[in-house]
């Protein structure tokens, strides 16, 4: 097992730009989502192109039309098998960067420290906003060393007025500190979407995730989240990442067996890990609501203990003591150390974008 911070950009020797997609990784690999691939990497159509750093690149998008995405991923797997990690102990596959394929890692923490050294007079409006947002967030008591910048903010290919400001918060406690601070903190340049704006967003941005929510439910969920807001007219996004000693699972400490697609509900007993990727909600009193036409059976002596998400729209979706329902892949997890078993439901695995789970998966709080 190995720790590597989530949301970190990695350039590979094959010209890919990838984003790490977990804080815990199998030995010798980093779980990633490919972000940009060279034009020649894939023949399959259905993805958009971008001109970045002098090259025509394919924007790898898991939300591309499903039938197209299936052939894109198939071709990718065939052309670049070394970027796919099949884990028999987890009965799943992941996009990865093998360590020997890493060309460059773009460190969000170092990037921010470099940015903060640049005199404000030499920054453009976008970067000034980034620095001022950082200064504002630090008022909650965290240090700039606990923050980072990523994506186009870090690489410099941002479009002022259009690109998000993507910030990383290092450490789960720090993550909650900032998210809680933002609930009440006022700043003349800080704006959270109003109910009307969320309603408009719901109507104009129909996604497979939002399709499980009525407009009213959607607004209720989104309004209380504080990981995405506007700072002086620019969208900002906060990603909390786990420090090495904080990871809630170790890659090689458990084996996983697939059970099947399920819809369940339960009560959230702990939401502390719900702001990272993968994040989870600890639950109790879980009940199976739907087996989606299959007749698998559970061992009644083993409890469903967790709802796990790799999907960012479902982080911070439910809070402690709330009733939660979710649809995803039900798995049996066995600890290698003491053979303790539990069930968990997982939303947002890579394979889910290619099959029926894509339209079915959700996490919802009864609020």
């Amino acid at each position: 097992m190995a720790h590597f911070y989530e949301s970190t950009l990695i350039d590979t020797k094959d010209g890919f730009q990838c984003k790490s997609y977990s804080n815990e990784h199998p030995k010798g690999f980093i779980i990633v989502k490919p972000k940009y691939l060279p034009r020649k990497a894939l023949k399959a159509r259905g993805l958009k192109y971008r001109f970045l750093f002098g090259k025509c690149l394919i924007r790898f998008n898991l939300f591309a039309k499903k039938e197209k995405l299936i052939s894109i991923v198939e071709e990718f797997k065939k052309n670049y098998p070394e970027y796919i990690y099949e884990d028999k102990n987890k009965e799943n596959w992941y996009f990865v960067v093998p360590k020997n394929k890493i060309k460059e890692i773009h460190d969000p923490k170092k990037g921010l420290q470099e940015l903060l050294k640049v005199p404000k007079k030499d920054l453009d409006d976008y970067l000034k906003k980034v620095v001022e947002l950082i200064e504002f967030l630090c008022k909650c008591g965290i240090k700039t060393i606990d923050l980072g910048i990523t994506h186009s903010t870090l690489l410099g290919n941002y479009t002022p007025g259009k690109s998000d400001i993507d910030l990383i918060i290092y450490g789960k406690d720090n993550g909650w500190k900032i998210l809680n601070y933002l609930k009440d903190a006022g700043h003349p340049d800080l704006h959270w979407k109003t109910e009307e704006e969320w309603a408009e967003y719901y109507q104009t941005h129909k996604t497979s995730e939002s399709s499980h929510f009525t407009e009213e439910e959607y607004i209720k969920h989104m309004k209380r989240k504080k990981y995405e807001g506007m700072f002086r007219g620019n969208v900002f996004t906060l990603f909390t990442v786990e420090n090495p000693e904080e990871t809630w699972f170790k890659w090689e400490d458990e084996t996983v067996k697939r059970v099947g697609l399920a819809t369940i509900n339960g009560i959230v007993t702990e939401d502390y890990n719900s702001h990272v990727r993968p994040g989870f909600y600890e639950i109790t009193g879980a009940k199976i609501l739907d087996k989606h036409g299959k007749n698998w059976e559970l061992d009644n002596s083993i409890k469903i203990e967790k709802i796990v998400t790799y999907s960012i729209p479902f982080i911070q979706q439910a809070f402690k003591d709330e009733k939660i329902s979710a649809c995803g892949l039900l798995e049996l997890v066995t600890s290698k150390k003491d053979q303790k078993k539990y069930y968990r439901l997982v939303v947002g695995y890579f394979d889910a974008y290619l099959n029926e789970r894509r339209e079915k998966e959700f996490i919802k709080a009864e609020i």
Binding site: R39, K48, Y49, R50, F51, L52, F53, G54, K55, C56, H106, D107, K110, G111, E114, L115, K117, V118, P119, D122, L123, D124, Y126, L127, I149, L154, L155, G156, N157, T159, P160, G161, K162
Partner: protein, 336 residues
């Protein structure tokens, strides 16, 4: 001697981002102007700072305060000795920056970059790139081929700011460049306009051109050029590059001896090579206006410019402040 296209971009293993500054180069490396220099080993508050590719860098602005610039360059030479080139074809080497071949990390080719850009479906382009593509399509009406053009600087490197960054286009080949100039002289486009007096005046003031030029002459000279204008309200600049077989001098085939600092005027015989960097005006009837040195009384046959004056064209009476260097074949070649 080595040919390498001017205006290409090179990133180095030491994190410098450099702009190729000549079409002819010594064997040791590529003559460049460092554009962005990391601030880890050397920095200067008199130079602007930028945040590029996750790093704080200084932008090497040659128009900043001369004393501070001198201090910075002296320190640069100590910190990055491999990047300063001592020319053995000059009796006293002018300042040349080079990227030694072994220090090259990546070369950004303007031609390759444009080819990549033009392969992107129009719907996937942002506003800035749409303008670039639109402008190139207009330039292609001149009869030149896509292969004859390139993009450079921030458009090529990908850190442009929409509505702020220039469109920098290079044209491969001097004949082709002149053909394009002729096309631009004779053709119009609804989205194309040339800089007006006030805009040149603004440029003159902003870029400290008053250090060497009289304002009115400068604006008059610049105003008639067809190398800078606006396309859909975005500034564009056109640069000519020499093809290998077009080089008007070959590095190492001449020797240069420095004579002194002088001011003179002359009649231009040919401005054909004045569009490239280094550019050259062939002159006759040269006359010293202010002589600080004594030299043999033979006329200048060419004026050789490294730098901003490279496209000062069609000037019948050409006045310059120059370094004069006596070449082995008795040409006087001033180097900037």
């Amino acid at each position: 001697m080595v040919h390498f296209y001017e205006s290409s971009m090179i990133t180095t293993k030491d994190g410098l981002q450099c702009q190729v500054y000549s079409n002819q180069h010594p064997k040791k490396g590529i003559i460049v102007k460092p554009k962005y220099i990391p601030t880890k080993k050397i920095s200067s508050d008199s130079l602007p700072y930028r945040f590029i590719l996750g790093k704080k860098v200084n932008r090497l602005d040659m128009w900043t305060d001369a004393k501070e610039l001198k201090k910075y360059i002296e320190k640069f030479a100590r910190v990055y000795p491999d990047y300063v080139f001592e020319s053995d074809i000059h009796d006293r080497s002018p300042l040349f920056f080079v990227v030694p071949h072994e220090k090259i990390e990546k070369i950004y080719s303007p031609r390759e970059g444009l080819r990549e850009l033009m392969s992107i479906p129009y719907m996937d382009l942002d506003d800035h790139l749409e303008k670039v593509v639109g402008f190139v399509k207009f330039l292609l009406q001149s009869g030149l081929k896509l292969h004859d053009f390139g993009i450079t600087y921030s458009t090529l490197m990908g850190y442009y700011s929409r509505n702020m960054s220039d469109i920098n286009i290079v044209i491969y080949g001097k004949n082709k460049f002149w053909k394009l100039m002729d096309f631009l002289e004779k053709n119009k486009h609804k989205d194309l306009r040339w800089k007006n007096y006030e805009e040149w005046e603004k440029f003159y003031n902003k870029r400290n051109r008053n250090i060497v030029h009289d304002k009115e002459i400068y604006i008059k000279n610049m105003h008639r050029k067809r190398t800078e204008g606006f396309f859909k309200d975005t500034l564009f600049v056109l640069f000519a590059l020499e093809e290998p077989e077009e080089a008007w001098f070959k590095w190492g085939e001449e020797r240069y001896k420095r004579i002194g600092f002088a001011k003179f005027n002359a009649k231009i015989k040919s401005n054909y090579d004045s569009i490239v960097r280094p550019g050259c005006y062939e002159v006759s009837n040269s006359k010293f206006l202010k002589e600080r040195i004594k030299i043999a009384s033979c006329p200048f046959s060419s004026i050789n410019l490294f730098g901003y004056l490279n496209s000062n064209i069609f000037i019948p009476n050409f006045l310059l402040i120059i370094f004069i260097i006596l070449t082995t074949n008795h040409k006087y070649v001033p180097f900037f």
